[in-house]
Symmetry: C2
Subunit: 421 residues, 2 copies
């Protein structure tokens, strides 16, 4: 590839970054995609890996493999160590790259709202490593309960607290209840997994605030039918090795999962632009960085409003921003300079609660229960990258549905937290 | 279950231990199966997880799930901290168990023949954690090569040395060559994976000593056709972060894999019986511990000769010993005291070399190449526990065969070795 072609540098191989790169297929540019991991991750199904329903490779695909046919792209597995807007350079840990156009799409991570000391006791769910750590913790809790002679300790081992009532929290709590009530039935001789207690704590007044209040109420009823205790309007005031503190009440629980907060990727701090409370970069209407038309921010790292509403931090929004960034750069490469404001098309929202239970909202159309679950299932399998992953996920789920088994119930590795436990 | 039933304690949920437990289904006994992991592992396919062909859960099944229907079994995930033959007690890390019959089937681990300092630089392959660590190392080496400007360093990153020419070494070397030559084709822009060098070093005079010499020669030719350099009769004299020393020659390689030696599980040391050079317990003809008819040793931990030949450390032998131990205990429970010597039925041997290449030996029938590969494929899928695993593995392999892709090319976690690399 001639070196004189303009260089487009894309940071982050998630939905936004990958969409940018794919949109630029065939464009007269050299493209470099940098990600610290070697794979694109289908984040909406990450909770299934955490709860042992899917194997990690089923929801991930190597970035190189996805982009093998796109000859104008170089993929690098590296981390960003600094961005210099003035000299138009990005410093990685192993090399420094110049750019003509920069797309920053490094997403978000979980945030503990100033309580970083809670992190070791309440892991969040953003990467495959997070998911495998949560899987290890959940499965090990049941194993330890089988060997705990003390009923108080056994009860704490069989208590699971999920903090945060958004989509991830609802999905985790619902699946944990299913595992305890159905998957593990008959497999333990001393402890009874059905006595497990799953608690979902949400500080706000309702679950799934991205949905219509009627669907929030339905989701809550469906969760309670699965055996989840839902606590609304109660703030967590402490998390440690023994459990959580909700208001003034201490709840003994050996497994606490964090689904309460996200913060933008720390890369935002190098962009020299105003950021919102969650650290997201306040971008221009065309996703560019104020004062830097050659720098675009896409995905969860970008804070932007459309039709007077904030664009939500969901996969379809990230994809749309990625495509927009790609098209904008392609237009500039052709010499066009007209501003193109980003427009978010709300494709609807879906959240699953458990086996055959979900809520769905497409504009004014709202439904829940079995039909929503089928729609959720179809949509998620469809959007999973790669035909083969679709087949395996379908197979996993089909057999899981009929047998109530979960196919990734494998404990590997050993976390610091579990040692001597 | 009445507490007065005799207690059979089985240590290890591999092929031997699991076979013992299943053979005792319906026996008038309480059975406890202890394993430090929660899963039974189909070890013959472990190299496929290490080389990113299969996801970890595809070759493992939770012991609880396998034994869910066998109501006389309690499964405990715990480690053995001591065995007291006099008081008939086994101390675990979380509780102590009395036994009436003890079956010790804790298998083998890899051994470095007194060079334990080589272990961090040349990981072996015995558990899923080992396999995932090797996968991470192999895939990361190609990633690093893409970013290495120095050709000498790039060459070291693209050099892979497998030490040991048994079945595992042959399988690893063949698959590594396939990955470099086929799977990764077209995915890198700066480095060329086809320039990778895969070296198989064996101290003895031929590969696959468990097979007839004619098949050893065929395996070597098939490997060389795949691009593997085979070095026979050359001993490794050093391993460090820069590579290996073979005789007096230093070979720069960032990835070194150990498939040379196995040593019996350290539990053998508590059994107070003579052991062979590899640490395996020299058992009586009926697999019992000398002087302790109530203690049986099965699988890779047992050293026994049949028809004047040592019983090999392979899965079918472990299964047969496990079944024998179970039948022996069942007979004793019925009051029979006649000694029953163990008899090994050699079911033949199979080793795969790569895509469409394998060697097979069934008594005097020996064949290699494509037919052997199909037999190998069928046998391994068939013996994988669980219908669903069979389906997924078939699907993985069918698509891998047609597309040359590998479906578990996901790097998770980060090893100490890779840090700052």
């Amino acid at each position: 590839m001639p070196a004189q072609l303009p260089h487009v540098l894309v940071l982050g191989g998630g939905f936004a970054g990958l969409s940018t790169v794919r949109t630029l297929a065939g464009a007269p540019a050299r493209i470099t995609l940098v990600d610290r991991r070697n794979h694109h991750l289908f984040q909406p199904l990450l909770y299934q890996v955490a709860t042992a329903g899917l194997a990690a490779p089923s929801i991930a695909a190597p970035l190189r493999q996805i982009l093998r046919g796109q000859r104008n792209v170089t993929v690098l597995m590296d981390e960003v160590a600094g961005i210099d807007l003035a000299t138009r350079q990005v410093r990685l840990t192993r090399e420094t790259l110049d750019y003509d156009y920069l797309v920053v799409a490094t997403g978000a991570t979980h945030a503990y709202f100033g309580h970083d000391d809670w992190a070791p006791f309440a892991p969040g769910l953003k990467s495959l490593d997070d998911a495998l750590a949560i899987r290890r913790r959940v499965l090990t809790a049941f194993e330890r309960a089988e060997q705990a002679p003390d009923p108080v300790r056994r009860r704490a081992l069989l208590s699971f607290v999920v903090i945060g009532g958004g989509a991830t929290g609802v999905e985790l709590a619902g699946t944990l209840a299913e595992i305890a009530r159905h998957t593990l039935t008959g497999e333990f001789r001393r402890a009874d997994p059905r006595q497990a207690c799953v608690l979902l704590v949400e500080a706000g007044p309702r679950l799934l605030t991205a949905f219509d209040p009627s669907l929030s109420a339905k989701a809550q009823r469906q969760l309670e039918r699965l055996g989840v205790q839902v606590r609304l309007g109660q703030a967590v005031t402490g998390v440690d090795a023994d459990g959580v503190r909700v208001g003034n009440e201490q709840i003994a629980a050996r497994t606490v999962l964090w689904a309460a907060g996200v913060a933008a990727s720390p890369l935002g701090q190098w962009l020299d632009a105003p950021r919102d409370r969650a650290g997201r970069v306040l971008v221009e209407a065309d996703l560019s960085l104020p004062g830097h038309p050659e720098v675009l921010v896409a995905g969860d790292l970008a804070s932007i409003r459309c039709d007077d509403r904030p664009v939500p931090g969901v996969a379809p929004a990230a994809k749309q921003m990625g495509v927009h960034a790609g098209r904008l750069i392609a237009a500039r490469l052709r010499g066009e300079r007209a501003p193109q404001p980003f427009r978010y098309r709300d494709a609807g929202a879906l959240a699953t609660i458990g086996r055959m239970a979900a809520v769905a909202q497409f504009g004014r159309v709202r439904f829940s229960g079995l039909i929503a679950w089928w729609v959720w299932l179809g949509a998620h399998i469809w959007f999973l990258i790669g035909f083969r992953n679709r087949m395996v996920v379908m197979l996993d789920w089909a057999t899981a549905y009929w047998t109530q088994a979960r196919h990734a119930r494998i404990v590997t590795g050993r976390g610091e937290h579990e040692k001597g436990d």
